[in-house]
Amino acid sequence: MQQRAILTPSSKPIVPKHVHLQFDNLRGKWVVLAPESVFWPDEQSLEILKLCDGKTSVKAMIEHLAKQYAAPKSVIEPDVTEFLQEWSDKLLIRVI
């Protein structure tokens, strides 16, 4: 049986093929299309999702976002980890 994925700093999350992150021209915003659901990510979630490429580790994501938002890593980390774990639990991202 499969196991629940628990994220660690070295995990590399990826948006699986069957979840579409795309820009909706008509509404002028990004959208996530998944089985039987539609999500409208806010700016911060979107930045995180764009880094879910299967190559960037959680640790590297946090470093990247800390730089981008000019905020200490300790502030960014809990938000990023919580978001990724929640999306992983909903099976909207996978962990490599």
Binding site: Q3, R4, H20, L26, L33, A34, E36, V38, K90, L91
Partner: protein, 364 residues
């Protein structure tokens, strides 16, 4: 009220034809024959208009959508427009080969219904021989085609005790989602209420089982739970509000806000055979009738929950009270709620039943 924005999804009922005969089918009691179905060109035109209108997801349903040999074309077109495609199938007539073709056309997700977690239940409810084995094979080929899988389990008193087995089945099949969907009593299910209604004790047992599985299978299987209306405290936000998020196109091109809307006799729905989808979405009198909040009466009108549940289901209000404007009797604030509970208890304890199986009326 006219539409305030574009719809998010389209549910295309490609056909009413289906090899199964589930007595709770959400199709209308008056099933359409194949001769009245939109042809390939007409459907492609509907999808083009829907994409232009701004839909993001297309649910291809029926009846059994795979009886349409033009399904491939529809998926290919929708995919080319960046639309997420979801195939809703009973899974008894879909070969692995065709499934792979559909996947190559760009299909994104498949939902397979299971009438029972046990072969004999699946066979009894669907009235289709060896259906269970075929469904298992379909579910497995969905996974081997690399597509995400949802198992849909419509629940009533003949399979409510199989809920733990449904959960095991979904995990074994490697499904992402399981819908434990208690039957909603309109369409054929309304005709079969006395044969389908579970009793309150079984419903409570089910709630406990589902809640504990949701916790223990976190990150493995998403379980969506649709509670049974007749025993609910509050109604569901049916379809995310009348003509708000989703539009349904019936096999003959009639545009509806929900499966059962045609049971409300006073409403006249428009067809894509006569008007554009845009025109219908914006201006159809029947779609505008219960859109938004202005049509509401008390107690809904001044209730803070109206933004969450839109006052519940108009079809259920109509079926139970005779008035589509009434508060959905599934709501405990509705004056008709007590009556609904009593009705449920009576049905649930009716020992004699015979299914009124879903069948297309024979000509003549």
């Amino acid at each position: 009220m006219p539409a305030s924005g574009p719809p998010i999804g389209i549910l295309a009922e490609l056909t009413h034809r289906c090899p199964l005969q589930c007595p709770y089918c959400s199709n209308p009691a008056d099933l359409l024959k194949s001769s009245s179905e939109l042809n390939s060109k007409e459907w492609l035109n509907v999808f083009e208009q829907a994409a232009d209108l701004g839909i993001l997801q297309a649910h291809l349903s029926g009846g059994e959508p795979t009886v349409r040999r033009d399904l491939e074309q529809f998926i290919e077109y929708l995919d080319s427009r960046g639309i997420y495609t979801n195939l809703i199938t009973a899974g008894v007539n879909l070969s692995e080969k065709r499934l792979n073709v559909l996947a190559n056309c760009g299909l994104d997700h498949v939902q397979v219904s299971f009438q029972g977690a046990r072969p004999e239940t699946t066979e009894l409810i669907g009235a289709y021989k060896n259906g269970h084995q075929k469904k298992l094979a379909t579910a497995m080929s969905v996974r081997s085609a690399g597509l995400p899988l949802t198992i849909n389990a419509p629940i009533h008193r003949h399979n409510i005790d199989e809920v733990p087995e449904f959960i095991d089945l979904a995990v074994e099949l490697g499904a992402e989602r399981l819908e434990i969907a208690n039957v909603q009593y309109y369409g054929w299910a309304y005709l079969n209420r006395a044969a389908l209604m579970p009793d309150i004790e079984a419903v409570h047992r089910q709630v406990d089982i589902v809640e504990s599985a949701q916790a223990s299978l976190k990150g493995i299987l998403n379980i969506d739970f649709v509670v049974p209306d007749y025993y609910a405290d509050y109604p569901k936000p049916c379809m995310g509000g009348w003509a708000n998020d989703v539009l349904i196109v019936a096999p003959d091109g009639t545009v509806l806000p929900c499966h059962a809307a045609q049971t409300i006799d006073a409403l006249d729905f428009d067809s894509v055979r006569k008007q554009s989808l845009q025109q219908i979405w914006q201006h159809s009198a029947a779609l505008n009738k219960y859109r938004g909040f202005d049509w509401m009466e008390e107690p809904c009108r001044s209730c803070p929950r109206k933004e969450l549940d839109f006052g519940g289901c108009r079809c259920q209000a109509y079926a139970i009270t005779g008035r589509a404007e009434a508060t959905d009797p599934a709501c405990m604030i509705s004056p008709d709620h007590k009556g609904l509970e009593q009705l449920a208890t009576e049905f649930a304890h009716n020992p004699n039943f015979e299914f009124n199986y879903r069948r297309i009326k024979t000509r003549g």
